[in-house]
Assembly symmetry: C2
Homo-oligomer: 294 residues x 2
């Protein structure tokens, strides 16, 4: 990882020089590659849970993690922030959500927090909002904090805790996420949430799409670095590159099956829209708030 | 699964008619497909552990399972049986192996059982044989029972216990395995052992190769039935179809890395040989013996 530290120093140097209007081109010549890893499920993660750090004890640069729960937590979080929610407060249990709802808000004049999320794909009793991206309208969420708990997404977030930065990715913000990862220049760890501890196609398809986009950039410095990222990439290139294949894979996924059974095909269709929004949610585990990356 | 039961009845009928020298052709017209599933790791298995049964409570036909630990348990088991060992007795711990070694042999005149296997890729203290396919020579193993324990392979076998039949697959017996699976006509479950609970390319490559072979048969009745089999198939077709890609993927795998560090490249090269032997090991959990399928 020594070369990576060098790479980051070089990037800092470039930023300083560029701020002085000195344009330089040395990135292509450093020969150091930025690794991308994938966890097909949180339980398959190789990210060590040791608190949020930028370097581990060996001096390795800690990666930026991306939480991926396409159906529907990732997609819905992007919608909520795009429609004006001031923050999402993720929590792992319904009890914790209710406790948080009774805590004083972050500022005295802040409006009452909303409770959102799902269990078994359905709205939780006593909650204001379910987990559909369509529920998080500007009328309801503008300037509101949303306490949010979902079956798979919040577990996946927890598994990202030790990363140096934790982003939320979905097809609806794919290009903005790619820009953020390139800008960041750190190793990338793509954390698929899965569905009830099982691998699910829609999350893996997205992880593969991110790998494909990062690798396909001109003079890309990224490289896939483990068998899980190879699996996701091959899966995406086989079953996701062409739009009809992509839609078939999404609609036949385990996550979609659960939603289609409940008549929620519109949610699946919405999650399949690419680049609806230009924002990247970022989770700060210290404050437990997800907000849009500045 | 109703159609599958019908399929098996039709196959029985065909066998009876064919034994009467009546040739019929109805397999292509039944329209029922035989599902293939893959577990990329034992912990990701969807096979229920409920004892060896041919039908579960729902009347579903239980699959034939294939234990896959290419580097090296599967490969070595095939070598041992091909070189004349009368049976392999798998066990999960070194202690259990020593206990078994002190039990009376299956027949009075049977020669002393051999102890084989590895921990951390190396021979276990007090054992006769390590886990290299080259160690199981005819001179050493002919007519001998071999008590066998390896880090990953024996765990994977345990996870196959509820299947209706449990085979052992490796590149060295690939075509014979395919013939056995086709002959069997049951759903197929491919159980990858992995390396120290991590996904490893060589096992997934083999699972993908089995999927590819079964799907590519003329008028194949097989179909891949879950996201793990899709992942394995796409991985194999991307990184295993052409021989140079195949060798690169094998040599860069996690399993190979562990062996190369110990100077055991010859073992990896041997595991990459296709169809060295025409036999399929089958494990009977009731007697805990692995022998060649008759």
């Amino acid at each position: 990882m020594q070369v990576l530290r060098e790479h980051i120093l070089l990037n800092c140097l470039r930023d300083v020089l560029e701020s002085q209007h000195v344009s330089i081109q040395f990135r292509e010549n450093t020969g150091c590659m930025i690794p991308i890893q994938v966890s097909l499920l949180p339980s398959l993660s190789t990210l060590v849970d040791s608190g949020q750090i930028t370097e581990n004890n060996s001096g390795d640069v800690m990666p930026v993690a991306v939480m991926i729960d396409i159906l529907r937590a990732s997609t819905t979080i992007v919608h909520a922030l795009a429609n004006g929610a001031s923050a999402i407060l993720p929590c792992s249990s319904v009890e914790q959500a209710h406790e948080l709802a009774h805590e004083p808000a972050s500022s005295q004049n802040a409006p009452k927090r909303l409770l959102g999320g799902e269990r078994h794909c359905q709205k939780i009793e006593g909650f204001d909002l379910d987990n559909s991206p369509f529920s998080y309208t500007p009328e309801l969420v503008q300037d509101r904090e949303i306490i949010f708990t979902t079956t798979n997404g919040t577990i996946a977030l927890e598994h990202c805790r030790s990363a140096s930065m934790i982003l939320v990715g979905a097809f609806v913000n794919l290009s903005s996420l790619i820009d953020a990862l390139v800008e960041c220049g750190r190793p990338v760890h793509l954390m698929c949430a899965g569905t009830d501890r099982q691998l699910t196609a829609e999350d893996i398809l997205f992880a593969g799409a991110v790998c494909d986009r990062l690798l396909s950039r001109p003079a890309s410095e990224f490289e896939i670095a483990d068998v899980q990222s190879q699996l996701a990439l091959d899966f995406y290139r086989t079953r996701g590159l062409k739009r009809p294949d992509f839609e078939k894979t999404m609609l036949e996924s385990l996550g979609a099956a659960n939603l289609l059974r409940l008549g929620l095909e519109a949610d699946v269709q919405r999650a399949m829209q690419v680049d609806l929004f230009k924002l990247v949610p970022v989770w700060n585990p210290a404050t437990n708030r997800i907000a849009a990356l500045p």
